[in-house]
């Protein structure tokens, strides 16, 4: 049997109208009898619908032949990588010696005016903000100075605004750590203004919201702080930033605790522990356990408090840092104090206080001292309170902290000597010392005494 040529079969399958009616009839008749030609015909007649939409979509072709967006973005990615590499080299001496950055005014040097330098300075500031907020401030200020003069021919407005917003945010973080709260809020305003200028900005605005909540919390504006913390939490959830979301959740818990709503706070801290367990992040578990224990102590659920303090302690003993471990031991000592084991509590608190002093954490040492005073008040041993007040006074003086804190300790000593010291006084001094640590210029206002004749 002779076969029909491939071209005719293709024409019949794909454009049958190109053939005469007689030609079509002839091929149709042949196909009915010839399996080989039928198979070839079927090959050409394969449904065009199957891949049609995909074949017509440029997106399908992009991995193979690229696109303008792909090209531009890869150039952008390469640029970022190159700048970061150069910034690492340029900034090496300054990162090792932050004070030199303060003297050098990096912005005056043209080769430092890059996005990579801004990013590296921001990262450096963030990395040392807790341990050395003044150095962080220097880095952030340099980052801002450079970000503000980035060459508009090299950086799009959106890229420059993102860097500027982030640099101002970092400055605010350092200012918060230094207790300069009004300045921190002003810096956050600047950060927010820059971040609002480009899209997408949700994640960066959420970070600004979280910091704003933190500053307002430190200032004692708990309702406002809560609103910002909630906004930040929402934003982080939206962007899948779960770890940051836990920071926002933690802040909300701390605000509730500060507002005396420990029962509600404990629910939030439980969520952070669950997240930590799921993410196998022991630091988050430790932090959440410690905060939960504080809440349970406030709620007088002593067994629960003990269990959580000890869980936190096991973690902080394992992974540190030392201040967190000490803070947890302090919590356990407070628990012992609350259950009325005064002598044991005093022994534990003395140990914790001495170790805080060794770490130069004088405010914490003083706060522990106030807990010892509370135990001594319960034991009615005023002379030992005076001795503690003298010691705390010398600790603050030796540390050069001639601030309102010293006045508060002086008041403690006087009240103890006169026998007028009360638990309420201790609460006020405690609250003042906490705030004075972040606000060195805060003045201590002596608690008002009721007139003698009204007693």
């Amino acid at each position: 049997m002779s076969h029909i040529g491939e071209v005719d079969l293709a024409t019949y399958a794909l454009t049958p109208g190109a053939l005469s009616p007689a030609g079509r009839a002839e091929i149709a008749a042949h196909l009915a009898e010839c399996a080989a030609c039928q198979a070839t015909h079927d090959f050409f007649a394969v449904s065009e619908d199957v891949l049609d939409a995909e074949l017509r979509d440029e997106m399908t072709w992009e991995p193979l032949i690229g696109s303008e967006t792909h090209r531009v973005l890869m150039e952008c990615g390469a640029h970022v990588a190159r700048e970061d590499r150069e910034a690492e080299e340029l900034l090496k001496p300054y990162l090792e010696n932050p004070i030199s950055a303060a003297w050098q005014m990096l912005v005056t040097r043209r080769r430092f005016r890059t996005g990579g330098v801004v990013r590296r300075l921001i990262r450096a500031a963030h990395g040392i903000c807790d341990s050395d907020p003044l150095a962080a401030l220097t880095f952030a200020e340099n980052a801002i100075a450079i970000a503000e003069v980035l060459d508009p021919d090299r950086y799009s407005p959106a890229a420059a605004d993102q860097l500027r917003g982030t640099a101002w945010k970092e400055l605010a973080f350092a200012q918060m750590r230094l207790g300069r709260f009004p300045q921190a809020l002003a810096s956050l305003d600047r950060a927010e203004r820059y971040h609002r200028r480009y899209r997408p900005n949700g994640a960066n605005l959420s970070i600004v919201a979280l910091l704003r909540g933190g500053v307002l919390y430190e200032q004692g504006h708990l309702d406002e702080a809560m609103a910002w913390a909630e906004r930040a939490e929402h934003g982080f959830a939206h962007a899948g930033e779960n770890r940051r979301r836990m920071d926002a959740l933690f802040l909300r818990g701390a605000i509730l605790f500060e507002a005396g709503r420990a029962a509600e706070a404990v629910l939030l801290f439980r969520q952070t522990i669950e997240y930590g367990e799921e993410a196998q992040n022991v630091r988050i578990i430790g932090r959440g356990s410690y905060a939960t224990a504080d809440c349970q102590l406030a709620l007088e659920n002593f067994n629960e408090a003990s269990a959580h303090y000890h869980r936190a302690l096991v973690i902080f003993r394992e992974v540190g840092p030392e201040p967190d471990r000490l803070t947890t031991e302090w919590g356990i000592a407070r628990l012992v104090l609350r259950v009325g084991k005064y002598d044991e509590a005093i022994a534990r608190l003395r140990d914790v206080s001495a170790r805080f002093e060794r770490l130069q954490m004088v405010t914490d040492a003083a706060l522990v001292g106030l807990d010892i005073v509370e135990a001594l008040l319960a034991l009615n041993k005023p002379r030992r309170i005076v001795a503690i007040a003298r010691h705390l006074s010398s600790v603050f003086t030796d540390a050069g902290m001639l601030t309102g804190a010293l006045a508060a300790i002086a008041y403690l000593k006087e009240a103890a000597v006169s026998g007028e010291l009360s638990i309420e006084d201790l609460g006020k001094i405690r609250s003042f010392l906490r705030r004075a640590e972040r606000q060195p210029n805060l003045e201590f206002v002596r608690p008002a005494r009721p007139p003698a004749d009204s007693v």
């Binding site: 394969v46 995909e54 973080f173």
Partner: protein
């Protein structure tokens, strides 16, 4: 109470290398997620393709500068395209624009979108298996919109021959597709 840490410690934004190429992770993220972001902008927010492209670009440029800071790239990028799309559409008041405010997020891709994008990515990958001549021919016909007559004229073929080649190439692509997906014809 222990201080809340307000922000995480960032690590380096990109890993330095000696080449002038972008870090491989950037391209990988782009090729993996860009199609999804485009579809979300277009299908979930009704943004025309021509407007969706700059949004995708903006989302990736912000991502590149903080990539190693990002915990879940897919969630981050989807949140980003939602944020960018909403700003593009200027929905709501200035503050409520920041965050989606909807649960689940308005940008959450449906199964249909995900499947469609996955299929396109898969088909894009199979083009590497069908040979350069087939790729060129299919691209000219389907993307450049050249007619079979024009292609035939340029190549010195008969139109029917071009049709035949097109058919063969489609068939080859389909076979490769079935081989990759494990689906029988």
């Amino acid at each position: 109470m222990q201080e809340p840490r307000s922000d995480m410690t960032p690590t380096s934004v990109v890993r330095p290398d000696e080449s002038h190429d972008p870090p491989p992770a950037f391209e990988e993220a782009y090729l993996r997620f860009a199609p999804l972001l485009r579809k979300i902008a277009m299908k979930k927010f009704g943004i025309p393709a021509v407007d969706a492209e700059p949004l995708v670009h903006d989302v990736f440029t912000t991502y590149f500068t903080k990539a190693e800071d990002v915990e879940q790239p897919e969630r981050y990028l989807i949140g980003g395209i939602c944020n960018a799309s909403r700003q593009h559409l200027r929905r709501g008041a200035a503050t409520s624009e920041l965050f989606c405010g909807e649960e689940p997020c308005a940008a959450t891709p449906t199964d249909a979108i995900v499947l469609e994008v996955e299929r396109k990515i898969l088909i894009g990958r199979l083009f590497t298996r069908i040979g350069s001549r087939c790729r060129d021919l299919l691209h000219r016909y389907y993307i450049n919109g050249e007619t079979t007559d024009a292609i035939a004229g340029e190549l010195g073929f008969r139109t029917t021959t071009v049709l035949m080649f097109l058919s063969r190439c489609r068939k080859r692509a389909l076979s490769a597709y079935h081989a990759m997906t494990g689906v029988r014809q």
